[in-house]
Amino acid sequence: MLVLAILAAAAFTQLPQGWVAAKPGGQCLIGTGPRAEEPVAMMLGAQDNANVMVMLTSPRFPGLAPGDGYVAELQLDAGKSLSPAMVQKNQQGLISVGFIMPADKLPAFGKSARVKVRLDGRNLADLAAPGRDTAAAALGKCLPSLKKAAAPAAAKPAPQASSVDDALAAAEAAGNRVAKTEGAGRPPQGGNAAAAMARQGALQAKSNEMLMMMRMNNHLIGGGSMADPNMGAVMWGLQN
């Protein structure tokens, strides 16, 4: 694990000016940090080598209400890709938009002259930031380290005493009993209930990742450092 971490850190040593990188919580991350351009910050991060999360922050994204029912379209020279997207407003009034880019699009992202994002059919931002080719390549080099590093965490825990199973079954039953007296969870949005449910599930799975990215993004916009040893707490929502 230590060797992998060192290798991953080494992959980030050659970044263009204006880009920063970190590997908190076992992730690979690169970001522009605060910029004068729009979006004022851009971050790309991954914790597996299949998907890269893209996080954009600006005070000027037009009329976007916080929510996780958005659809982002990434337009590159090589084509378009669609992703569920979420929008969050932080305490400074900055709007962050997060979406997913397949990791195999990373080289095209770096090389494409046209890098635009549309959100729910509206133009949102131009991401053709200088140095993106080198930054994307650095992130690409880091990604293979993630799969190996994540393997132990993905392994199933050793079987434990049946008392744990009994306790969990009792808790689930008690929770379900009490839940009947509580309001149901948020209903899915949209007219087609089945499609909306499926979409909601996919968005929920991705929104957890994006929310963590957004917390980190907000922390950086507020003057925090990617090298902050407390970044794990930031991403988990324990620290702003």
């Binding site: 908190p24 509580e182 794990g232 988990w236 620290q239 702003n240």
Partner: protein, 161 residues
């Protein structure tokens, strides 16, 4: 202690692998923050004024233990030596406590670890009290507590496979 609390955040981020069907759960006043490495829910910002601290979460990375996470502006500025949770029918002393200063003045976080045996008590107790070092700290009445407990239990069972 500080590192222990922050470590729980880092561990919760252990992987981004898509979670099992339990991840599809959604709440109106909680946000699921589970990852492949753990099962977690935290209150949303909208709920914060309704509870006696700035934030509250339930987290578990080991499937025989869970933790109650409290953060906020507290008078507690040093790691508590003991923590007790008084549920409706019984009380339990926490075998482990995490504590960390969270940056801003007086903003602290406490993680109170309990055996999963006490997870059902969270669902069955309309409110429960946390005592630190023998003194009352806060009483919690959690919205959607049944759904939250059922979710955490289901998530842990799925991870046990």
């Amino acid at each position: 202690m500080k590192n222990r609390l922050f470590a729980c955040g880092a561990l919760a981020l252990a992987t981004f692998s898509a979670a099992a069907p339990a991840s599809a759960q959604s709440f109106s006043q909680w946000r699921v923050s589970s990852s492949g490495g753990g099962c977690s829910v935290v209150t949303t910002k909208d709920m914060q004024p309704q509870i006696p601290s700035a934030g509250f979460g339930v987290n578990s990375e080991a499937n025989n233990q869970f933790s109650l996470l409290v953060r906020g502006n507290m008078n507690v500025t040093t790691p508590p030596k003991s923590a007790e949770v008084q549920f409706a029918g019984r009380s339990v002393k926490a075998p482990k406590i995490g504590f960390g200063k969270l940056g801003e003045p007086n903003l602290y976080g406490i993680a109170i670890y309990l055996d999963v045996e006490y997870l059902k008590d969270m669902a069955e107790s309309p409110s429960f009290k946390i005592r630190l070092d023998g003194e009352d700290f806060a009483t919690y009445s959690l919205a959607e507590r049944g759904q939250v407990v059922a979710y955490i239990a289901r998530c842990l069972r799925e991870k046990r496979g």
